[in-house]
């Protein structure tokens, strides 16, 4: 700093100052001046710095991470600007990276799904599968949904039995592989949160929090009048767990209603409820490699037995069909026999039954009719145990009457007899002797009412 020893009489002019500076600072003065001007001029400063900048950054980066920290927000901001202005360049740049990553993810998901479906198909005829189908029909969900829910992996990690009013923890269970933080405080806080929600949002009286969900963690809460059951589930919530909880809390209230209503602070009195609570501690784990092997072996066995089934089933069906055919055939034959007996002149069938494996035929038989036993032997039931019981009677059927007539009078070949409606028509020729005998005997036969001999010629003979 220049200080004047004498009071300034007149200020020095610019050129004089310039000369003074030159004298004091020497030739470097010009250089210094240039530097100063350069520093003040951004364009020239950039020019000056540009060769060194990259190297400087490199050196700085080697020293510490401060460069990264500084650049981070800048780069993020720059990316955001770029994407909002025109996303295409960034998208194009990412495209070769995103494609394979997406495909890989899809492949792994698909192969997992295929494994699940394979298992499902193999189980599709098992009794479990039929139960699932029934469940699906009953609850109105798709079969695939029910099956997937059954096969997914979950674990109930903790079970809390909490006194409703105070939030005090009555009983607590933890699965072996799970970690629990101080359960007393957790149950207190859980109660406080429910109170908070009821206070903050207008909710129905007596309604309670049902579930809390965060990521793959779900806390299911089942409310009773005096106590609350809460479970922590990691993974998808299995079907039927909510039901299990309802049943458990109802059971607990049924057993301990008094003790719960007037809780005196001693949780040990609820120790015996632990088995009930353990029922809620369900787990379905993904199988270990050994278990996987066992499962695949079991699956193979199922496959073999399935194949056997597919072979045996047609045979069974065939046997069944044959059985049906056979028995219906027998029935048809039986009916045919009955029919043939019934339609045989001179036979009347009064009863046809099969008793204790033996066929019984009861009826009436004219002595001149075909014997029933002959009809049986000529039928398809000839080898079957058959019992016949036919009582004798006199038939007035035309065929039989004619036979009877034939027995009583020898009918010559030249005579032709027809009997219809009790009218006996005689045609042809016969000896007078025979005609006389005929006139005598024929009317005596039952079944003959009128005899017509107009067309009968007498011949002379002995």
């Amino acid at each position: 700093m220049l200080t004047h020893s004498q009071p300034p009489k007149a200020s020095l002019s610019e050129t004089e100052l310039e000369t003074l500076r030159l004298l004091l600072l020497g030739p470097e003065y010009k250089e210094l001046l240039q530097h100063k001007q350069m520093l003040e001029n951004p364009e020239r400063l950039s020019e000056h710095l540009s060769p060194a900048i990259s190297q400087a950054l490199q050196l700085r980066a080697k020293q510490d991470g401060s460069l990264q920290k500084v650049l981070n927000p800048l780069i993020t901001g720059a990316l955001l600007d770029s994407v909002s202005e025109d996303p295409k360049p960034i998208a194009d740049a990412l495209y070769p990276v995103m494609g394979p990553a997406i495909r890989k993810s899809i492949n792994s998901t698909m192969s997992q799904m295929l494994n699940t479906f394979n298992e499902l198909l193999e189980q599709s005829v098992s009794p479990k599968a039929w139960r699932w189908r029934f469940d699906a029909w009953r609850t109105g969900r798709s079969y695939a949904e029910v099956v997937l829910m059954q096969n997914l992996v979950y674990q109930v990690e903790q079970v809390f039995l909490i006194h409703k009013d105070t939030g005090l923890l009555l009983q607590h269970l933890v699965a072996d592989t799970a970690i629990s933080k101080d359960p007393d405080m957790v149950s207190g806080m859980l109660t406080a949160i429910q109170d908070f929600i009821s206070d903050s949002f207008s909710v129905e009286q007596n309604s309670g929090l049902d579930s809390l969900r965060l990521g793959d963690l779900t806390v299911l809460i089942e409310h009773g009048p005096s106590a609350v059951l809460a479970v922590v589930v990691r993974g998808p919530v299995p079907q039927g767990l909510q039901e299990t909880l309802s049943e458990a809390i109802e059971e607990i209230h049924q057993q301990e209603n008094q003790k719960l209503k007037q809780y005196d602070g001693n949780p040990a009195q609820f120790e015996h409820l632990r088995p009930t609570l353990t029922r809620c501690l369900k787990t379905q784990k993904r199988d270990t490699p050994e278990a996987e092997q066992k499962k695949s072996k079991a699956a193979k066995n199922t496959k073999i037995s399935m194949r056997l089934l597919w072979v045996c089933l047609p045979l069974l069906m065939l046997a069944l069909a044959y059985g049906v055919y056979y028995s219906s055939n027998k029935q048809a034959n039986w009916e045919a026999l009955q029919h043939s007996i019934q339609s045989e002149p001179g036979l009347i069938l009064t009863q046809a039954v099969k008793q204790d494996g033996v066929y019984h035929l009861y009826g009436l038989a004219d002595p001149l009719a075909t014997k029933p036993v002959d009809l049986v032997t000529s039928s398809a039931l000839s080898d079957k145990p058959l019992q016949l019981a036919f009582k004798p009677y006199l038939s007035l059927e035309s065929d039989i009457v004619l036979k009877r007539l034939n027995q009583a009078l020898l009918i010559p070949n030249s005579v032709n007899l027809t009997l219809q409606n009790g009218i006996l028509t005689v045609k042809g020729s016969a000896t007078t002797q025979w005609i006389a005998e005929f006139k005598q005997k024929a009317p005596m036969l039952a079944g003959i009412n009128i005899i017509n001999i107009n067309q009968l010629r007498a011949t002379n003979g002995s």
Partner: protein, 176 residues
């Protein structure tokens, strides 16, 4: 082992939380005060040969315009009301809170804690009023978060009173 639910009440910044922080087990941070309005701590102690687990519902500080959140008071066996000796108004708030709480909980044991009592030269609470309360049967304990004075005493006395009232109730029931 017996469990009891107790509540910790008081005006803003009377030092409730800092009073007990070294004497209780904590899982949750103070942020729950501003969000849910309550923070749960646990204190285990033995009084009169009885193992006790006290679940402490540390309620967020109140002012005179806010009513006590009665839902958090359900099932409480006893409570502690904290006032700040350097702020006389906190004692008024404390008395109001006590009245409101009583309406809800009925006649349960309670302790009045006069916190920051180590700041003797800043003591502004009306000492006569405090003496009057003592004479009315209120248990008043001087406490300090800084020195730790009175904290164990508060818990022990409250526990003792709670156990006494419980046995009184059972003998009453037995006597009927």
């Amino acid at each position: 082992m017996i469990q009891k639910k107790i509540c910790l009440l008081g005006a803003f910044a009377v030092g409730k939380t800092s009073l007990i922080v070294r004497y209780v087990d904590s899982l949750f941070s103070d942020k729950y005060h501003t969000t849910v309005g309550v923070k749960i701590d646990k204190k285990q102690l033995t009084v009169d040969d009885q193992d006790l687990t006290l679940m402490i519902w540390d309620l967020a500080g109140q002012d005179e315009l806010t009513r006590v959140k009665t839902s958090y008071l359900r099932g409480v066996s006893g409570y502690i009301i904290v006032a700040d000796v350097t702020r006389p108004h906190s004692l008024d708030i404390a008395i109001n809170m006590h009245k409101e709480t009583r309406e809800f909980t009925g006649d349960v044991p309670f302790i009045l804690a006069l916190n920051k009592s180590d700041l003797t030269d800043k003591w502004l609470i009306d000492r006569e009023a405090v003496e009057k309360l003592r004479q009315e049967g209120v248990t008043v304990i001087n406490s300090s978060a800084k020195t730790g004075e009175g904290v164990e005493d508060i818990f022990e006395q409250l526990s003792h009173q709670m156990l006494e009232s419980k046995s009184a109730n059972t003998t009453k029931a037995a006597g009927n």
